[in-house]
């Protein structure tokens, strides 16, 4: 049986979901036996490849890079998992939304809340442009499975991966779907 | 006032009439076109022409063809003038008794009037709404007088039941059954409420009835009070309509002064008092439990039913709530007899129905037709079809709780069941004609915005559901929604319809569902991929 091509993606989030993923401890060894990690913040791959079987997407869609990335990910991936509350609900990343569009947020952060040298950062091509609103992943592309939690506890991640590795349609139920 | 004094008052009123009556419409739409100034000029013109002994200028209620106002009608000649300007007063007075005025002459025997059957509106445009004498001289309060002398309360309820009258406020609940329920509650404090909180956008029937013939509604309420054993009535009026408030307040004062309301009415042992309660701008207060909360001075949020108001209503007492048109039917039913009334209309919908015909239609105004008249007769014959040679696309009935009936279904008779079968409702009688330019998705969006803004916020499906439905409709209209979103819209409509606490929320999805049913391609053609 061909090895599963696994990717993990980090959009607008704190990387806590990835930390929780690393908390899978010895299961990571089992996983290494059964999958090729083709793209992830923890591996050295510059470009998101074609033909990915499964991706865990951490973080909300917060800037234009995130937006381009998630669209590419969707195109090139069979099963897309919204991984953690930021991806599923917007969560902390989306806390800025009620403040207003990107201008309001930048002004609040870099002008109003700054004591020295207030200025709005502007570096085209270096700093990605913020979107006016942070959105969960499923409001931009279709999502196959939701894995909530902030972060999702390692056993919950493992449960999903095991189901998917066994070729079963993954399903979370009961307490496994709790936000927060 | 003693009864014989009333009789002589009526006689004096009749004797004061001059041979020619010039009736000037002073209902809302004509007033907005300065009809009161027209009346003043007509009076002074009659003075200048030395005709004060022969000509009466009377400020009457709605002459019905609102789109051609200000309207003036000269009786007994039966000449109708349209769009009368103040400068035409002399000419109109000059034409009395023969001759032709320099004014636009309407056709009182044309299709707008000929296809109508005024019963609720029989006094509209005839009596003077601000003078009770005028109503009395037209036989007003005769039925209250007779009922108190000749009928037991049970017999009155019986007559209303036999007439087959159904509530004109929306749902069409049998009025006799409602009356009987309240009547059968143990004696004690009971109330009659006239629901005049006509809030549907595009509806002005009840308002016109109250502005044209307010005493008739008060008489209906008093008869209802006698029948169910109530001594106190409330009229719950919209605060948005100062003219209606003014006329009703005046009407109640006059009726009280003459003793046709108050203690020992017509020398009987029956007491009945009516007070006004003025709403303050909340559509949801048309819902009866919200209306009662508002009368009690609280936020107009609906309560779960049961208990129904008939069992436990205002301040926990049995309460009869009828709408304006329902109550305005009562004197006519008792005068003509239940059987004659029941011969008008269809098997299940008896009598007439007043509609407020408006929108993209040549002749708009107040229309009263027998139940069972086809929509086509109303919009094409009476209304004259769409203006500028356009075609009719849909007719909206029932306001935000109703639906859009496509032109292909115009032969549908207007009765409670037929309209319901088309996913609309009779509602209180708003009827808006839409021509081929109408964007049905936007129509649905328009009504959803209304419901969103008028949701009281108590129950979640209505409060939060209408907000989401509105956003979805905007996206669909603007071509930004996927098929998946259309599916979500339909599921959410189902939930809001079935899970909401009161009629506002339950009916909020109706305009969406009915446009989806008849104009689905307008939704589908705008969907984007996905």
């Amino acid at each position: 049986m061909a090895r599963l091509r696994l990717a993990t993606v980090w959009l607008g989030g704190c990387s806590g979901c990835h930390m929780s993923f690393l908390d899978l401890d010895e299961f990571l060894m089992d996983l290494a036996d059964r999958v090729d990690v083709v793209y992830s913040p923890v591996v050295d791959a510059k470009e998101y490849p074609e033909g990915v079987d499964l991706v865990l997407v951490e973080g909300a869609v917060a800037n234009e890079d995130n937006l381009a990335m998630i669209r590419r990910v969707r195109e090139r991936t069979r099963i897309l998992v919204s991984f953690g509350d930021c991806a599923v609900t917007g969560n902390v990343t989306a806390l800025r939304n009620p403040i207003g569009g990107s201008d309001g947020v930048l002004r609040r952060s870099f002008v109003e809340q700054t004591d020295r040298d207030p200025q709005i950062p502007f570096a085209p091509g270096v700093l990605p442009v913020l979107l006016d609103r942070v959105t969960p992943v499923h409001s931009v592309v279709s999502v196959d499975l939701y894995l909530p939690g902030c972060p999702p506890p390692a056993p919950r991640i493992r449960a999903v991966l095991e189901q998917l590795l066994d070729g079963r349609p993954a399903r979370l139920a009961g307490r496994e779907i709790k936000f927060g | 006032m003693e009864k014989n004094e009333l009789v002589s008052l009526v006689e004096a009123e009749r004797a004061s009439r001059r041979p020619v009556q010039v009736r000037v419409c002073t209902a809302s739409a004509c007033l907005a076109s300065r009809s009161r100034e027209v009346a003043g000029r007509l009076r002074s013109a009659a003075g200048r022409a030395g005709m004060v002994d022969r000509v009466d200028v009377r400020e009457v209620g709605c002459l019905r063809l609102c789109s051609a106002g200000p309207l003036v009608k000269v009786e007994p000649e039966g000449v109708l003038y349209e769009r009368v300007g103040v400068e035409q007063a002399d000419s109109i007075v000059g034409a009395i008794g023969g001759g032709r005025a320099e004014a636009r002459i309407g056709d009182p025997s044309g299709p707008f009037f000929a296809r109508q059957l005024p019963m609720v509106l029989e006094n509209s445009g005839v009596v003077e709404p601000e003078r009770i004498e005028s109503y009395l001289a037209a036989g007003g309060y005769g039925q209250l007088d007779r009922v108190l002398r000749e009928l037991t309360p049970e017999e009155v309820v019986e007559a209303i039941t036999r007439s087959g009258l159904r509530g004109r406020g929306g749902a069409g609940y049998p009025s006799g059954l409602k009356w009987a329920t309240v009547a059968k509650m143990p004696p004690g404090r009971k109330f009659v409420i006239c629901n005049a909180d006509e809030g549907d956008p595009g509806a002005f029937m009840d308002r016109s009835v109250l502005e044209s013939d307010p005493q008739r509604v008060l008489e209906g309420m008093a008869i209802a009070g006698y029948a169910v054993g109530a001594e106190q009535g409330y009229v719950y009026l919209r605060g948005e309509h100062p003219l209606t408030i003014h006329r009703l307040r005046l009407a109640i004062d006059q009726a009280r002064r003459l003793g046709v309301l108050g203690s020992g009415i017509f020398d009987s042992r029956f007491n009945f008092r009516i007070d006004l309660r003025i709403g303050a701008g909340a559509y949801v207060c048309g819902e009866e439990t919200a209306l009662m909360a508002s009368i009690e001075g609280r936020r107009g949020t609906p309560q779960p039913r049961p208990p129904y108001p008939a069992q436990s209503g205002l301040w926990g007492s049995p309460t009869l709530i009828n709408n304006v048109e329902t109550l305005a039917n009562i004197p006519a039913i008792l005068r003509e007899g239940a059987e004659r009334f029941a011969r008008i209309g269809t098997a299940s919908s008896k009598g007439t129905k007043v509609f407020a015909l408006a929108g993209n239609v040549c002749r708009s105004g107040l229309v009263e037709v027998p139940m069972g008249t086809s929509l086509r007769t109303i919009v094409e014959e009476i209304g004259g079809g769409a203006p500028e040679g356009r075609s009719i696309k849909a007719v909206q009935t029932g306001g935000p709780s109703g639906g859009c009936i496509p032109a292909s279904q115009l032969d549908t008779p207007v009765d409670y069941e037929s309209l319901k079968a088309l996913g609309s409702i009779m509602g209180s009688g708003g009827m808006i004609v839409m021509d081929d330019r109408a964007d049905m998705v936007d129509v649905a969006r328009y009504f959803m915005e209304f419901c969103r803004d008028e949701s009281c916020g108590k129950c979640i499906p209505c409060r939060a559901g209408t907000v989401q439905l509105h956003r979805m409709l905007v996206r669909i209209r603007d071509g930004q929604a996927t098929r998946d979103e259309l599916h979500r819209l339909e599921r959410l409509c189902e939930m809001v319809k079935h899970a909401s606490l009161c009629g506002l929320g339950q009916a909020a999805p109706s305009p969406v569902l009915s446009t989806l049913r008849f104009f689905r391609e307008e939704y589908e053609s705008r969907l984007t991929g996905g």
């Binding site: 509350d85 609900t89 009620p98 | 499906p461």
Partner: protein
């Protein structure tokens, strides 16, 4: 006192006259989801989560809110059908979309009825737009705080204050989705002239909208059963543990 027999979820149960479907179900170990209901307070039938299907004569069912519908003789009730599950899920999603419920940073995280409701109704994501209203946080009261971001307008605080404490400090202002709970004339809570600082509203709150000022993320544990304790003590002279 008369007793009705009825059927709830294929189980024959009895109910005293005047009991609601919710009470009858609960006494028989059948749980129906609720949010605006709280033991010890009046019922308002507002959250619609307790809708159940009641069989009607001639076939089909009608929906009735179990908290305000009296149990009646020979009623046949289903509390957990596909349709009800679908509606309940939508209702919970609508609530999450309406205000800013960020469980991970909420004082009531892991002690929240809304969060639990999402779990029990299988809400793993929200299909509707997050409305993201700008909401105030009122920290003017020396002991308590009010975070409108978390309020679901269940009005349990309003009823607890009115019915149990008797102060009627709280009410609802505005309407529709712009409704807000307010103290007095919408003055800061700390400036309220009617508030007795009894904390019953805080006890009653299902979410992190009302909280003790000292609590940080996940620390706010409401004592919701204390209200029924007080009511029973006052009305029945029973001080149950």
């Amino acid at each position: 006192m008369s007793v009705h027999t009825l059927r709830i979820d294929e189980k024959d149960v009895s109910a005293r006259a005047g009991q609601t479907i919710l009470e009858a179900a609960s006494e028989n170990g059948i749980s129906i989801p609720t949010l605006c209901h709280l033991e010890g307070l009046s019922n308002v039938g507002a959250c619609r989560l307790c809708l159940v299907e009641v069989a009607v004569v001639g076939g089909g069912t009608r929906l009735a809110a179990a908290c305000v519908t009296a149990a009646a003789e020979e009623m046949v009730i289903q509390t957990d059908t596909d349709r009800l599950r679908e509606y309940r899920k939508m209702i919970v999603e609508l609530l999450f979309a309406e205000r800013n419920h960020v469980c991970s940073v909420c004082v009531a995280n892991n002690h929240c009825e809304l969060q639990e409701m999402a779990v029990s109704q299988g809400v793993d994501h929200v299909r509707y737009d997050y409305l993201e209203p700008r909401c105030d946080v009122d920290l003017s009261h020396p002991r308590f705080g009010l975070d409108h971001n978390r309020c679901i307008l269940c009005t349990r605080c309003v009823r607890a204050c009115d019915e149990v404490e008797g102060a009627h400090t709280w009410d609802v202002s505005g309407r529709g989705t712009l409704s807000r709970v307010v103290t007095d004339l919408n003055a800061p809570w700390g400036a309220s002239e009617t508030c007795t600082s009894c904390g019953k509203c805080v006890m009653a709150c299902p979410t992190g909208a009302l909280f003790h000022q000292s609590s940080t993320v996940s620390e706010m544990i409401h004592e919701r059963t204390r209200l029924s304790f007080l009511v029973d003590a006052r009305e029945k002279k029973q001080w149950h543990a």
